[in-house]
């Protein structure tokens, strides 16, 4: 290495920062737009159930499928940009791979939207075997294949991204266990030597997602073969297990990635760092294991499942989210408490994200109980619970990150910021409470046409959804108009020098 | 990207696709069974003129069926599973033929690939079990080992021993046209389907 190389390196770092910045902005813009579009699909469905809109059931189920797949996918992309932005400060990651994930996501999204709105695929985002192959003529094998191919393409992108992150963690910390803080968790090393909070979160989310995607790919390939060669069948129960393992892990990982925004942004406001202690690391280690084995709680209604698996599902679902949630909620309170923190939209959203996550766990625990599940699982209680921690948790954390990024351009606020925040929070609460109330009144989920006694819930839910769309719409527009200025901004945040690679 | 990368990659992909396409008969089949059905459909093949002995001890060859459609099955009389299903199917074809004299341009032939155990007596009892009478439905065994080998090869029948002293084989019903060529390999199924294919083959 010569002096020349050193200069080239510095120029390279600057170019690298600009490129990384550009790709991050592209991510945020894509998430913002797709999120809003999918929220409009959701609003359409609630308005249709409320009989405000006339939507044919066929279209309703297409919307249901697209909303599900789109929201899960975009939550993944939202989590990815939060994780990547912050973990990049600690470990080497590759911008090309990061961009490749976004491009593959967009290709997959086109395939999926085409499968629904052109091909009429409406087999729900979980593509439960053997439904995609038995449409009664509503959609063709090609439409179902386009949908699954879309998921596969998106999976390839995420696989690359997570492998790259894991590789970076491995190089920096020597092993994934070190990235997770296992030695600190079990007391082999002092707490102070542990990785910063973004790293265990990224390690955990990437480990579980790689496993989830590898297994999801297996069931996707098998389902694709079954579409075209129907004599290749598989056990529907095995398929459901694999699909829910993949789906559960992927959607859970979104919140474990998005929560990094809380760890990194709140301390900036409070001017003191997020304390990582032994309990913190222990919580992340425990949640890694539990997220992988808790998925049977999605199959509590499948009487053919071995009882022990369901019991494990019930017990672990009481515990699975809790460790990380507790350390996060406690940590957030500690950071905020007496810090003289200045509340604004980004800090408010990050804090709200923790509260929404905590609130969402309560109905989730109810649904994770076998005796409750058998009467509640097919009601709107379930969308109520997952919308609580996705809409008010994951999405809040992402919006916190988005508005925090937008804040770097200090130009005129249009004066609607607090209004947007409160529209979103208020609407979100109304929206999820309407679902939960309807669920406890036994209103079934996934019905295109609702009976008269259910309409009140639907109408209140529609109102909530409308407010959310307005609030998020304002935030998204405010972000998008600042994108050109943000892209021109000189790069200030230069990655910290990397420790020497430990392995390789 | 280095020089030569894209040409090399293109070459590898093109050769790879060509090889895969060749192995799967143009991305249409992945199994031997699928491959032989497709091959027969596109290139009907002449069958060897092996001498066979039927349930009445009479010797004959495929030449005896010129001008008629012939449905052939391969069996062994001790078979506990699929041969019985094939036999039943043939029996139902025969019943349909008797009802409907119009399609009597179709004959049936069951060939045993187990000459060691399937002597005249075994063939007779198999014929009696399913109501087979020569010449409309012959149950026969090749007169020589070479004849058997040539027949199996030409029809693409693979016989492997199972674990219970019997055989596993790719069971199917073979359709020969009026010129004695193998033109279709069909799954066991309802007589109407088999007879429709047969009628199509002689027309």
């Amino acid at each position: 290495m010569s002096a020349n190389a050193g200069r080239a390196d510095r120029a390279g770092v600057r170019d690298g920062e600009t490129a990384a910045r550009a790709v991050e902005l592209a991510y945020i813009a894509v998430v913002a737009i797709v999120l809003l579009l999918m929220m409009l699909f959701g609003l359409t469905m609630r308005a249709a159930q409320a009989q405000y809109l006339d939507v044919q059931p066929r279209l309703f189920y297409v919307l249901l499928t697209m909303h599900g797949a789109g929201m899960v996918g975009i939550a993944g992309v939202a989590g990815a940009v939060v994780m990547w932005h912050f973990v990049r400060r600690h470990v080497p990651v590759n911008t090309t791979v990061f961009l490749a994930n976004l491009v593959l996501f967009l290709i997959g999204a086109v395939l999926i939207l085409g499968s629904g709105f052109i091909g009429g695929f409406a087999g729900a985002w979980t593509f439960l075997y053997p439904l995609p192959a038995h449409s009664n003529g509503i959609w063709s094998a090609n439409a179902a294949a386009a949908y699954m191919l879309g998921l596969l393409v998106i999976g390839v992108g995420f696989l690359l991204l997570h492998l790259d992150v894991l590789h970076g963690i491995w190089r920096t910390y020597g092993s994934l266990a070190n990235g997770l803080g296992l030695k600190q968790a079990i007391g082999l090393k002092p707490e102070k030597t542990g990785p910063p909070p973004a790293v265990p979160a990224a390690t955990m989310a990437s480990i579980v997602n790689v496993l989830g995607i590898v297994i999801g790919a297996v069931v996707l390939i098998l389902s694709l073969v079954n579409l075209y060669v129907p004599s290749f069948t598989m056990s529907a129960l095995v398929a459901k297990n694999l699909i829910y393992f993949f789906g559960h892990v992927f959607i859970n990982a979104t919140i474990y990635m998005a929560v990094i925004a809380v760890y990194e942004i709140l301390p900036l406001y409070a001017h003191h760092p997020w304390k990582t202690n032994r309990i913190f690391y222990l919580a992340w280690v425990a949640s890694t294991v539990m997220v992988l084995i808790v998925y049977p709680h999605h199959l509590l209604m499948d009487f053919a499942m071995p009882p022990w698996a369901l019991v494990v599902g019930q017990i672990i679902s009481y515990l699975s989210g809790l460790p990380v949630l507790l350390v996060t909620a406690f940590g957030a309170l500690t950071v905020v408490h007496r810090s003289g923190l200045r509340w604004d939209t980004p800090s408010g959203l990050c804090f709200l994200g923790v509260l929404g996550w905590a609130a969402g766990v309560i109905p989730a625990i109810a649904d994770g109980t076998i005796v409750v599940n058998s009467v509640m699982h097919n009601t709107q209680w379930v969308p109520g619970h997952f919308h609580t921690y996705l809409l008010l948790g994951t999405v809040a954390m992402f919006l916190g990150y988005m508005t925090w990024t937008a804040k770097e351009v200090p130009h005129e606020t249009i004066g609607t910021e607090p209004a947007a925040f409160w529209l979103y929070v208020g609407g979100g609460i109304i929206f999820v409470v309407a679902f939960l109330a309807a669920g406890s009144a036994s209103v079934p989920r996934r019905y295109a046409v609702h009976l008269a006694p259910w309409l009140t819930y639907d109408r209140i839910g529609s109102l909530g959804a409308l407010l959310v769309v307005l609030g998020v719409g304002i935030m998204v527009v405010q972000f998008l108009v600042r994108v050109p200025a943000l892209a021109r901004l000189p790069m200030t945040a230069v990655a910290q020098p990397l420790p020497e690679a430990a392995a390789e | 990207m280095t020089r030569g990368f894209l040409p090399l990659l293109g070459f590898v992909i093109a050769t790879g696709l060509a090889t895969l396409g060749f192995a799967t008969s143009g991305f249409r089949v992945v199994t031997t069974e699928g491959a032989r059905r497709l091959a027969v459909e596109h290139h009907p093949r002449a069958v060897p003129d092996a001498v066979l002995v039927d349930q009445d001890g009479r010797r004959f060859t495929f030449a005896a069926y010129r001008g008629k459609a012939l449905l052939v099955e391969f069996i062994y009389t001790n078979c506990p599973t699929i041969c019985g299903i094939l036999g039943d199917d043939f029996g139902r074809v025969l019943a349909t033929l008797r009802q409907d004299r119009g399609t009597s341009g179709v004959d049936l032939l069951s060939i045993s690939f187990d000459p060691a155990r399937d002597g005249p007596r075994a063939l007779r009892s198999y014929a009696a079990r399913f109501g087979a009478n020569a010449p409309g439905w012959r149950v026969a065994v090749p007169a020589t080992r070479e004849g058997l080998r040539a027949l199996l090869k030409s029809f693409g029948v693979v016989v492997i021993p199972d674990r219970f002293g019997g055989f596993t084989h790719n069971a199917a019903i073979y359709l020969l046209d009026g010129q004695g060529r193998l033109v279709r390999i069909l799954d066991a199924g309802p007589p109407a389907t088999l007879l429709a294919e047969a009628a199509h083959a002689v027309s």
């Binding site: 790689v210 496993l211 098998l222 598989m234 | 280095t2 030569g4 090399l8 790879g16 199994t31």
Partner: protein
Amino acid sequence: MLRLAAAAILWFGLWLPPLRSGLESDMALHMTVQIPLLAVVGILIAPEVRRFEPRWLAEADWLGIPGIVLVLFSTSCWMLPVALDSALGDWRMEVAKFVSLPLLVGMPLGLSWQRMPPLGRLFVIANIISKVGALGGLYLAAPIRLCAYYRLDQQAEAGSALLAVATAAIVGAFLASFFGWSWRRPFRDAWKGHRAVATATDASPSLPT
């Protein structure tokens, strides 16, 4: 030299009738033992061949991508039931199998692996696990016989064996990465020649950022 000898012994051993018919009489052994071992023959000779590899080829095999694509196609061909059958029914295809698995799977894998960035390697491993798992699932569940030369129960056994291989690979890869074991350590001797040449010819096998 030791590697070449080992490769030759392994190849001839696999070709000799007792081992050959023994492994081929069972679908699971055929797919999970014989075929991988034939690929290993190629991996063993790769470091020796590297010396004679033309410069343009080493250069054109950018990040090992063409080589890995070649491996992908060759393995796909030998995963087809019709190919397995043909190797059993036709001695010419059997010869083709014994030649193509070392030369078109093992050798390009050995040569290109060194040129691949770590991310590429991880991606290939993850893909192979998915592919083997899916193939195992198909064989386990298929209600019809896919190979004319194997019974249905052998086919299901082969499916279970492939699933077992995929599971073992997942667990192994997870444990290795989790606790930071270097997968190369046990094979270091076999790879020593490889690495020396690798550092001399391609200095930085990394993706552009």
